[in-house]
């Protein structure tokens, strides 16, 4: 393919790729939501009065914190069930849901740590502990979003997997470079957007004082 043909082809497949990127945003959002909910409960457990509860909280947090999400991707792919019974029908678990499960784990570790820090700051009378938590949370969303790109290794339908299908038409290093760079650009724009959001939150917080 000539450069022009490559660009035309890429433009034609952009809606397809964007759909894949939508999955990445969704996977990351769901993982953040579920992981934060569970992680905050774990954080509360770590600060509980009962010693066994504290211990359990610590163990879960350190498990979630120390196991790489890339390894968890393979784990859920191999070990989690493929079909679940829903009433009378068998429902297939889509791979992107499995990828979400893999990403929930590190988010639990993060939310447990940040939730704990929030509790301590709150107890010591720091007023903007909540804002600190929100800032860290938004930044972590970016990290989880980037980690969602690894879902392609287990065959989940997301942007890298779709990019590979687009590239399969030609398979030249040039077209591969172009397609991957194009996709990278979206991540970069999302990242810059999120950074700008964090900065504006930060300056709003300082202005509030």
């Amino acid at each position: 393919m000539s450069m022009g043909e490559m660009l035309v082809h890429l433009w034609e497949r952009t809606p397809f790729l964007l759909g894949g990127y939508g999955y990445n945003l969704l996977i990351a959002a769901l993982a953040m939501a579920a992981g934060t909910a569970i992680g905050l409960v774990v954080a509360v457990a770590r600060h509980a009065r009962a010693a066994p509860l504290r211990l359990a909280g610590e163990v879960v947090t350190s498990l979630c914190r120390n196991i790489p999400s890339f390894v968890l991707m393979f784990y859920v792919a191999f070990v989690f069930p493929v079909e679940v019974e829903w009433g009378d029908t068998l429902v297939q678990v889509p791979l992107w849901i499995k990828a979400t499960f893999a990403l929930i784990i590190p988010v639990i570790g993060f939310a447990s740590d940040q939730g704990g820090a929030y509790l301590r700051q709150k107890r010591s009378g720091l007023t903007d502990a909540g804002a600190v938590f929100v800032t860290a949370w938004i930044q972590y969303y970016l990290i989880v979003l980037m980690a969602s790109a690894t879902a392609s290794v287990i065959g989940a339908d997301e942007v890298v997997g779709r990019a590979n299908r687009v590239i399969a038409v030609d398979n030249s290093p040039g077209f591969l470079l172009l397609t991957y760079s194009y996709v990278c650009l979206w991540f970069l724009v999302s990242g810059l957007g999120i950074s700008a959001l964090v900065r504006s939150l930060h300056s709003a917080r300082i202005a509030d004082r």
Partner: protein, 538 residues
């Protein structure tokens, strides 16, 4: 904390733990698969998407090829709709085992190891051997000459282990055929050892005029349609076996072969003669009273190259009580591959930690030094751009871009190919280094405002010391991310474990073991870095 909240916590934890450990058991129930297919009204068949003309993706994104055609014939025979799913050599038997697909028709060679993982149906519908795709100027004539030389392999192929063991080649393993093709073009190996049926197709494509099939075919193997373990003797297995016999008798397979422009296969010819030969007015080859085909009518499969592994007592006990099956680890060849994988993981982790510190300090210093004038535009702005790109794009895409894209162009223009270790180290160093710079930079700026007269070196040491806690967590993250290098054929521990699973190891056990390894490894790295922190601070 209140009682209900405490109870909620315990519930969540129990849920989490059971989700992690107990989930394997839910997958299957005991009904015959054929019943389920009829209930569902759809036959789900796993076929290849990257193996023309057997299974490939057409311009409309549909799966087509000889094997999808066979799948359609099966669906028609059962009287249900057909759904095709793309599978790869590495995952096809897992997809079957997981129940994601009912049947696999995906260029699956019939081997003893695979018969332990799934029911491979008789008779076979095709056969192939292994040859080496090389450049035209390939000087060798024997497989023995490949000893110690880099040979590209595609993950999941049954012959990979035999080639590595028998011919002692230096295996360079990629996750899919696309990656392996690119690797061969980029001179990452002398040749690609793979199925001769595929290699012949590749040779026919544009851009492969300067390549050839070298060395004599080895390891000739019949291909089988597979169903999940236990289904072979049930109605689904019987139905497919009978269909295959009919395809040999009425020439369906020979017709498909010519429709998909495959060279004539001696195997199909032999099968046609065998299954149509008559004796006393009946077919000589047909199911006996027991329901099986006579031995003489079937291809003999390759026997496993190694003897059964004898587990030590404690490992047998462990398997009995926990289900943890460590069998693959007691095979010396596997154990050696696993140890090499672990060492490689250690090496890439250490290299990336050092690289990320160097990159972090370097980027922070550049940012600090060139604050004014033309140099700020020429040096500082691009550095900041690099930091943003390195931090905010997924490292897995960075690996692909550098390894297959940039390095591919380098190979085409200058004939240089960058090793996967080098590419991974550079990518991880910049990815984590950019984050390091984002921590060191502000500390450096603050210190230099406070002590404008102190030399840069002292300021830098102080800045690193002050940000050490943040640096430790970034470095721990890079150790966790390093496994991604398995996607560019770095033979590290995740790739070793995946290889063991694709060769028949128990997935749940090996994956659990991998989790335990990583958990321990990350804990040790963290402890060492904290120790280093103490030394640095004191």
């Amino acid at each position: 904390m209140s009682r209900p909240a405490a109870r909620l916590c315990v519930m969540w934890l129990a849920l989490l733990v059971s989700a992690l450990w107990g989930s394997g058991a839910l997958a299957q129930s005991g009904d015959g698969r054929l019943e389920r297919i009829k209930e569902r009204g759809t036959l789900i068949v796993g076929v290849k998407g990257d193996y023309p003309p057997w299974g490939m993706v057409n311009d409309q994104g549909e799966l087509v090829g000889l094997e999808p055609d066979l799948a359609a014939l099966l669906a028609e025979r059962i009287g249900v709709d057909l759904e095709l799913r793309a599978v790869t050599s590495a995952n096809r038997l897992q997809r079957l085992d997981q129940g994601l697909v009912d049947v696999v028709i995906a260029t699956l060679g019939d081997t003893a190891e695979r018969r332990e993982k799934a029911d491979l149906l008789q008779p076979s519908y095709y056969s192939s051997g292994v040859r080496l795709l090389t450049r035209g100027d390939f000087p060798y004539t024997e497989w023995g000459a490949m000893r110690g030389r880099p040979v590209c392999l595609t993950e999941g192929a049954y012959f990979n282990r035999r080639i590595a063991e028998r011919y002692l080649v230096n295996p360079v393993i990629f996750p899919g055929t696309r990656d392996t093709r690119l690797a061969l073009q980029e001179r990452r190996c002398l040749g690609w050892a793979y199925d001769d049926t595929v290699l012949a197709q590749v040779l026919a494509e544009e851009g492969w005029q300067n390549y050839q099939l070298s060395l004599t075919p080895i390891l000739e193997t019949p291909w089988a349609i597979a169903v999940a373990k236990g289904e072979g003797d049930r109605p689904l297995g019987r139905l497919i076996g009978n269909a295959t016999v009919q395809w040999h008798r009425d020439g369906t397979l020979v017709d498909l072969q010519s429709r998909w422009q495959l060279p004539e296969s001696a195997f199909l010819q032999k099968q046609h003669e065998r299954w149509t030969s008559m004796e006393n007015g009946e077919y000589r080859c047909r199911r006996t009273d027991s329901g099986d085909f006579p031995e003489a009518c079937l291809e003999t499969t390759l026997s496993a190259d190694r003897s059964k592994i004898e587990l030590p007592g404690w490992a047998r006990q462990l398997r009995m009580f926990t289900g943890l099956d460590l069998t693959p680890l007691f095979d010396p060849f596997n154990a050696q591959r696993l140890v090499q994988g672990i060492l490689m993981t250690l090496a890439i982790s250490v290299a990336s930690i050092i690289g990320s510190l160097v990159a972090g300090v370097g980027l922070a210093v550049v940012d600090h030094r060139f604050q004014k004038g033309v140099l700020a535009w020429l040096v500082r702005a691009p550095t900041r751009g690099l930091v943003a790109v390195a931090r905010m794009t997924p490292p897995i895409l960075q690996l692909y871009i550098v390894f297959f894209g940039l390095s591919g162009l380098l190979a085409a223009w200058l004939g240089i190919s960058l090793s996967s270790f080098l590419v991974a180290t550079v990518v991880f160093s910049f990815y984590a280094g950019a984050s390091n710079a984002a921590v060191i930079g502000p500390a450096l700026a603050r210190l230099s405002r406070q002590h404008p007269d102190t030399p840069l070196r002292d300021l830098l040491a102080k800045a690193v010391e002050q940000s050490f806690e943040a640096l430790v967590s970034i470095m721990v993250n890079i150790v966790k991310a390093a496994g991604m290098a398995s996607t560019i054929a770095l033979p590290e521990v995740i790739s070793s474990v995946n290889t063991l699973i694709s060769e028949g190891g128990d997935a749940t056990s090996l994956m659990t073991l991998l989790l335990v390894f990583y958990f321990t490894f990350v804990m040790v790295v963290m402890a060492l870095l904290n120790l280093l922190k103490k030394v640095v601070v004191s």
